[in-house]
Symmetry: C2
DNA sequence: GTAACCCTTGACATCAACGTCAATGTCAAG
DNA sequence: CTTGACATTGACGTTGATGTCAAGGGTTAC
């Protein structure tokens, strides 16, 4: 299939697909006229990339998963490198949550200071 | 005082101070030689901006606080506009936390799928 | 042959809060 | 009078994942 169809089926823009190719995540065969030519495996790759992006992974984070799929595995997370990325991202997310909880507490505290009556329905005390 | 001293005392770069001025947050008087001339009130403004930035506010978010201080209030959060920003940011932070918790759960679930033994020490089950 | 789509590459634009140069001016001390 | 520490404005670079436009070529249908 050509880029337009893959884009439609994967729910992404053609621009995004070309960008993935440029980043080395989605190499494309070419038809005799120079058009990119994709198959079902490529659709699976793009789906994998998309689902990883939606949980906050970068394209770099997604690379091991893509490599894993291209290596013939049925799942992108079937390789130790992918698992390692999962663990790292989990730690990053936890750190971000901690940061946000700290900020939440600080802002809530400031709000309580500035407008004591506003704090009533805020829940968290510390 | 001149920009270098304010920067040192506030713990920011001179570039940042010029940027704040450009954004209309920190107007500066000028000496006869064209140098920016700041006073203690300006230090207070910059401190306010900095503490807001560190809890994730943008400069736009900080504007009401700065305006409030410049209007003669002793605290930047003494104005209703500032309080409103607090409330909005609190809601934003809560939303971000919810998003991150969802992602955490998703990633943890994927990790458990990919490497069942890895999930043992993860705590969250859902 | 021409409209109507599809494709190609290339390159600049976006967002925020600055970092980092460049080229130049000011001023106190030696 | 020069060195050196400060200041000025202006402008491009950073980060990530695209959006968007330009200028052109390919393919199919009528």
């Amino acid at each position: 299939m050509r880029i337009g169809e893959l884009a439609r089926r994967a729910g992404v823009s053609t621009r995004a697909l070309r960008y993935y190719e440029q980043q080395g995540l989605l190499p494309a065969r070419r038809s005799s006229n120079g058009y990119r030519d994709y198959d079902e495996a490529d659709l699976k790759l793009v789906s994998e990339i998309r689902s990883l992006l939606t949980v906050g992974f970068t394209l770099e984070d997604a690379r091991p998963f893509v490599d894993c799929l291209r290596a013939g595995n049925e799942a992108g997370n079937a390789c130790p490198e992918s698992v390692e990325v999962y663990r790292r991202k989990l730690a990053e997310i936890d750190e971000q949550i901690r940061t946000l909880l700290g900020r939440r507490a600080e802002v809530a505290s400031q709000l309580a200071d500035a407008c004591p009556r506003c704090a009533i329905r805020t829940g968290a005390t510390t």
